[in-house]
């Protein structure tokens, strides 16, 4: 029987999941940063042995990795140069010319990945409408190439002004570089990110070039090693968009692989939402250092083309490197189990974004940590069983947690438990605020959604977070600890192509757009088809539109068919409907224009059907009881303890209760009722 394998390389652990029919196996091995393929092979061998599966029976390998992200964060990419329009080599360093933190006179902007001495200007110029104002100086390109050779450059990014409108100069420069510098990776902005705004486009192209040589080497090695193991199945890569693609595409556009882990989590959440018929949901992934929140509407994920890697300053917007690639829209904040709590100058509790990490870890680990963390607060509140954390691998010391919390309790005039309640409330509120702001930016609301919680820390905080966001239902899926890898196996083979073409609706040109979309379709199909021979491909089109004169566009869904000559009216109606939904009221009379067009195609991965309703029945007698402090009520409550593995479909009980499993603990507060659904997921419902 054929089996499907998923591998997710994270900073600490490499997760491997094998699914055969309805059966699944999961395993975690330590990541081997110097040669990541080693951990992958170790995990693959172990899981095949455990599942008694032969390598040749593996029919598909889907892989996601933080390697590209980490290379960008840790600045361990290739020695990279930039070739740009003469006079503009500093644009990527000037960035937005702004201070993202108003009041901090010591603020520093992130340094670009390419330093000034490796950024070269070439005489050439294209105008905003694509007209060539100054021809490309080919001799200058060759001179720079000679310099790059002398500098032992491994990768080159080429980004000329307005190249998204006229690619000729970039393509010619790329061809010359390929001639002069064989073996050096060249990334062109017109291919990597053909979109207006020179800073973001350059930053994205540089990021692609910067990670390309290493990712290319790693992916080649992994492919070879898997073959040597006897796994002949195609290797596909998870992208930040939530789609999967071939190794070839991943090698050319490795920047599209950043944040593939969280994308996998979001894909899992989508399947879970389908199983629970949750038309509106929020995926909530909370691990050791960060929390990530993603909105799902009608079982579809929020998507975006804007993302910032390596936010260096309290996750503040603008403090990272912008990359414009298709991503699953998620908000990431520095709030995880290891996040450190302290008091600010006004005596207010602040949590994160810095984390105690795994060394020394939270105070309760007893490994030398002294600063109070979210996990210490959860321990002091009585939510965690000290003998069961991480499957019992890390014994927790409640006394050390309480001692650490004293540093907050004293100034707040409360005790360790009061301080713990404060830390839990603030971290939950921080996440709730981030979710709300994120929702409004997308014209959405958080109320009445279903919260899907995974990652070690999420089930501890999910119910409280749900209440803050006006959500009535929380789902904790099976295998929440390796959610991303499970998600990989549910992703579709997909690719998105983006083009900038400025079109005023009063000067609508159906022919030009139909040709554009045909070319986009061909490009996307060339990527997707080899990985999905014979499969039906589903297409979706969007236009990014605005009132003429505005600076920001909204994504407007388009019909999947060629435009008729008089489609402008329909486009305007679609735009106005979307605008009203996002911002409340449309503006009469104004002209409408579209700037960017996207087309994505993917294989049709049917979502699971909704689980059948279960008849609720009594749960077994709790294994024991424990006093748990509830920050919402401010009361110490006697909570029933349940082992998750002993709970079966239909079993139901009221909070306060705790559901314990190896990877996490689910907190069921007073006022919530918990039950197990048909597919083994924990469902919490707010009775208020």
């Amino acid at each position: 029987m054929s089996s499907r394998l998923a591998v997710d390389i994270g900073g600490t652990f490499t997760d491997v999941v094998l699914e055969t029919g309805t059966k699944s196996h999961a395993i975690k091995v330590l990541t081997t940063p110097d040669a990541p393929e080693r951990a992958v092979l170790e995990g693959v061998r172990s899981i095949l042995a455990e599942a008694k599966c032969r390598p040749q029976d593996v029919s598909l390998v889907v892989h996601g990795t933080t390697l590209a992200t980490n290379a960008l964060i840790e600045r361990k990419g290739a020695r990279t140069a930039l070739i740009t329009t003469e006079g503009f080599r500093d644009s990527v360093e000037m960035a937005w010319e702004h201070r993202f933190e108003q009041y901090d006179i010591y603020m520093e902007r992130p340094q670009p990945l390419v330093s000034r001495d490796l950024r070269f200007g070439i005489p050439e110029r294209v105008a905003s409408d694509g007209t060539v104002l100054l021809a490309l100086d080919e001799a200058a390109v060759r001179r720079v190439a000679a310099q790059l050779k002398a500098e032992k450059i491994e990768a080159v990014a080429v980004c000329f002004l307005h190249s998204f409108t006229n690619e000729a100069h970039e393509r010619r420069a790329g061809a010359i570089l390929a001639e002069e510098l064989p073996g050096v990776a060249v990334s062109l902005s017109c291919e990597v990110c053909p979109e207006i705004r020179e800073y973001e486009r350059t930053s994205t192209t540089i990021a692609n070039a910067y990670v390309l040589p290493r990712m290319e080497g790693y992916l080649g090695q992994l492919e070879t090693d898997l073959r040597a193991e006897g796994i002949a199945a195609p290797l596909l890569l998870m992208m930040s968009s939530g789609g999967i693609t071939t190794v070839d595409t991943a090698r050319r556009y490795p920047v599209r692989l950043v944040e593939s882990g969280p994308a996998g989590g979001a894909i899992l959440a989508r399947a879970v939402a389908a199983e629970n018929d949750a038309r509106k949901a929020v995926a909530f992934d909370m691990g050791g250092t960060t929390a990530k929140l993603t909105l799902l509407d009608d079982l579809d994920l929020q998507r975006s083309r804007q993302f910032e890697v390596a936010r260096a300053y309290r996750f503040v917007q603008g403090s990272g490197l912008p990359v414009r690639i298709p991503v699953i829209e998620l908000v990431e904040i520095g709030a995880g189990g290891g996040s450190i709590a302290r008091l600010d100058t006004l005596g207010r509790i602040q949590v994160g974004p810095d984390s105690a990490g795994s060394v020394p870890g939270p105070a309760c680990y007893g490994r030398g940590g002294t600063e109070p963390t979210v996990t210490d607060a959860d321990t002091a509140l009585g939510r965690l069983d000290p003998t069961r954390f991480a499957g019992g691998a890390i014994p927790l010391h409640r006394d050390k947690a309480e001692a650490a919390l004293q540093s907050l309790a004293g100034p707040l005039g409360t005790d360790a438990q009061g301080a713990a309640a404060g830390v839990a409330e603030i971290v939950d509120e921080t996440m709730a605020s981030a979710a709300r702001v994120h929702a409004v930016e997308n014209g959405k609301d958080t109320a009445d959604r279903t919260l899907i919680a995974f990652g070690g820390a999420a089930p501890l905080h999910a119910a409280r977070l749900a209440r803050k966001l006006g959500m009535k239902r929380v789902i904790v899926p099976v295998g929440a600890g390796v959610g991303s890898a499970f998600g990989f196996l549910r992703a579709s083979i997909a690719y998105e192509v983006v083009r900038t073409r400025h079109v005023r609706l009063d000067m609508f040109d159906a022919k030009m757009l139909n040709e554009l979309f045909a070319a986009m379709r061909a490009e996307a199909e060339a990527v997707v088809r080899p990985a999905a021979p014979g499969e039906t491909l589903v297409e979706s089109r969007q236009a990014f539109m605005r009132y003429r004169g505005q600076g920001h566009e909204i994504a407007v869904p388009l019909p999947n068919q060629p435009f008729s000559a008089d489609a402008a009216g329909d486009l305007r109606r679609r735009f106005e409907a979307t605008y009203e939904q996002v911002f409340g009221r449309a503006i009469p009379k104004l002209e409408v224009e579209a700037l960017t067009w996207t087309l994505s195609i993917g294989t049709d991965r049917p979502l699971p059907s909704p689980a059948k309703p279960v008849t609720k029945r009594a749960a077994p007698t709790p294994t024991s009881h424990r006093d748990v402090f509830d920050p919402a009520s401010g009361l110490l409550e006697r909570a029933a303890l349940h082992e998750r593995r002993l709970l079966e479909s239909g079993m139901a009980f009221d909070g306060p209760a705790l559901i314990v499993e190896d990877g996490t603990t689910t907190v069921v507060p007073n006022g919530f009722i918990a039950h197990i659904n048909e597919v083994g997921q924990i469902v919490l419902e707010d009775r208020a």
């Binding site: 003469e86 006079g87 503009f88 080599r89 500093d90 644009s91 360093e93 000037m94 010319e97 702004h98 201070r99 108003q102 009041y103 901090d104 006179i105 010591y106 902007r109 330093s115 000034r116 001495d117 110029r125 105008a127 905003s128 104002l133 002004l161 207006i196 705004r197 020179e198 100058t345 006004l346 207010r348 509790i349 707040l412 409360t414 009061g418 309640a421 404060g422 409330e425 603030i426 509120e429 921080t430 605020s433 709300r436 702001v437 409004v440 930016e441 803050k468 006006g470 400025h502 009132y547 004169g549 505005q550 600076g551 920001h552 996002v582 911002f583 409340g584 009221r585 503006i587 104004l590």
Partner: protein
């Protein structure tokens, strides 16, 4: 002073609840601000973030403000709400109402800034006011020029007016606006954006109040103001008491201007008085008191209490005074369009005094004034209808900032303003101009143990070879940004034509057909003696081309590689 005593002693849990609601209120105004940026039309709002947004109690006290690009709106917008509720008593307000003004003295300092204030209802009861501001692309008059002699020259003046009544926009106001500006579509669009973002704020506030089961903001407001005020007092109490004087001379329009500030640290507040400062100008570089107050408070707060959120409790901790008819307290009907010429300089003047109080904690002087390229063309300005395709565009750009006590100054970065730039590709898409160069300006950062930030050079040409105009409002062309503690001044700025002719730093001028405009932006001042700079840092600067070999030797005595 405007705080009320808390009604009852609170337990820590109760305090935590109030903190949670406070955080939430801050996220409500962030949402309000983001909605404005996302829907705005002018580049100043949509690209540069030159906007503000806040929520106020029914007495007009600001409870929370979004952190946006514009310190100049910090107090001024807060004060404007008081003017609105004096004109339109809160008991007369109905759901769906909105009020507007661009009165420089009751709004945020010049006619280009439109302020919209509207009531927020929860369960049918008026609970708060939302206010917001943005800088529109045109307001008629002379354009974005400092050449006006009276506010009447500067464009359309909207006194405090009702703009929307129970959801119905006053079409007469809109018609007057459309008839008076060069870009009617964009300006009207921005007014819609202002109304819309207050609506988003109202909705989110109501959601928050429902969730927390409160029906008024009284207790929360008192908590925010008390806590913030107590925080300010605690921060101020750490400083020595006394009065210190700061001074800075700047270019001015037709004659140099002396800015004098006396900063006095009291037990529980700081006062800043500008007595001795030059008189108001006959040109449009005057600052109304509301704008002076805003930038002064911002500069002081950056140093004294950077992490305390802005609200009525913090605003009342810094008292700003200035004699009438000085350039920092210009009275109606003085021309004020380029009031940022003065406003942006005020933190530097205060830092000159604060450096004496707390040495080693304030940066050197920077370019401070934004070097925005305000370009345009049109009949009668740059030619006649036949040869001058009309356009108006503002692109935001900056020279170098001052070196910090322990760090180099930021290059091509604004301070005190916090706006973003406008991408060249955007500027070229909306206006018939070509930018041929936009690069760091070598050797412009003031030498010092910490080097001043570099300015940048930009070269601009008309796409079709036609003449175009620049509304110049540039500073630091004659008097540079001074260094601190032995640091050297940054390079002066310069405005010229590529053919060599120097242009004036202030006033509207025409770039002749086929000519290129060259804008060399100033650098920031250095901090500490250049001889104390790490030679490795000097060599790095030479390798990166930020400092020339010659300057490395002359200023630092270091031989470059």
């Amino acid at each position: 002073m405007s705080t009320t005593a808390p009604s009852a002693p609170r337990s820590p849990i109760n305090d935590i609840r109030l903190q949670v609601m406070w955080n939430r209120l801050l996220s409500v105004v962030e949402e309000q601000a983001r909605a404005l940026v996302r829907t705005a039309f002018s580049t100043s709002a949509r690209e540069a973030g030159d906007i503000s947004a806040g929520v106020f109690d029914l007495e007009g006290r600001m409870l929370a403000q979004a952190v946006t690009g514009t310190p100049g709106h910090v107090n001024s917008m807060a004060r404007s709400v008081i003017h609105f509720i004096r004109e339109f008593p809160v008991e007369t307000m109905k759901p769906g109402d909105a009020y507007v003004t661009n009165d420089p003295w009751k709004g945020t300092g010049h006619l280009y800034d439109i302020v919209v204030t509207s009531p927020a209802f929860h369960n049918g009861k008026l609970v708060a006011l939302f206010s917001c501001t943005t800088h529109v692309v045109d307001i008629g008059g002379l354009g974005q020029s400092p050449d006006g002699r009276q506010v009447f020259h500067e464009g359309l003046f909207l006194p405090l007016l009702p703009l929307m009544r129970e959801g119905v926009i006053d079409e007469s106001v809109m018609r007057i606006v459309r008839a008076n500006v060069r870009e009617p579509v964009q300006v009207e669009g921005d007014i819609h954006a202002l109304i819309g973002c207050n609506g988003i704020g109202e909705k989110r506030l109501s959601d928050m109040m429902a969730e927390h089961g409160i029906d008024s903001l009284d207790e929360l407001g008192a908590h925010i103001i008390d806590k913030s005020r107590a925080g300010m007092i605690a921060a101020i109490a750490k400083l020595p008491r006394g009065t210190w004087k700061g001074h800075m001379r700047i270019d001015g329009y037709d004659a140099p201007i002396d800015l004098h500030a006396a900063v006095t640290i009291h037990a529980d507040h700081i006062s800043v008085d500008y007595a001795g400062t030059s008189g108001s100008s006959i040109y449009g570089i005057n600052s109304p008191m509301c704008y002076t107050e805003a930038y002064t408070a911002f500069g002081i707060k950056c140093v004294v209490a950077p992490t305390i959120p802005n609200n009525a409790g913090t605003l009342d901790s810094i008292l700003v005074t200035a004699p009438e008819n000085t350039i920092v307290n210009a009275l109606y009907p003085a021309a004020v369009n380029a009031r940022s010429t003065i406003g942006h300089m005020l933190p530097d003047v205060c830092f000159d005094a604060l450096h004496q109080v707390i040495p080693g904690q304030v940066p050197a002087e920077g370019t401070s004034n934004l070097w925005n390229l305000k370009l345009g063309a049109g009949h009668g300005m740059t030619g006649t209808i036949g040869n001058s395709r009309p356009f108006m565009v503002t692109t935001f750009h900056s020279g170098g900032a001052g070196a910090r006590p322990t760090l180099d100054g930021l290059s091509a970065t604004p301070f005190p303003s916090g706006v973003r730039n406008v991408p060249v590709e955007i500027t070229e898409t909306i206006a018939p101009v070509v930018v041929w160069k936009k690069e760091y300006r070598q050797d412009s950062g003031g030498a010092g143990a910490q080097r001043g930030g570099l300015g940048q050079v930009m070269e601009v040409e008309h796409r079709e070879g036609a003449p175009f105009g620049i509304f110049a409002t540039f500073e630091r062309v004659r008097y540079p940004a001074r260094g601190r503690d032995g640091g050297k001044p940054g390079a002066n700025g310069r405005l010229s034509l590529a053919s060599g002719q120097e242009l004036k730093a202030k006033g509207f001028q025409t770039i002749p057909a086929g000519e290129r405009l060259v804008v060399e932006m100033p650098g920031g001042g250095g901090y500490g003696a250049p001889a104390e700079r790490d030679p490795a840092a000097v060599k790095r600067d030479v390798r990166l081309g930020l400092v020339s070999k010659e300057a490395a030797k002359a200023s630092y005595g270091v031989e470059g590689d």
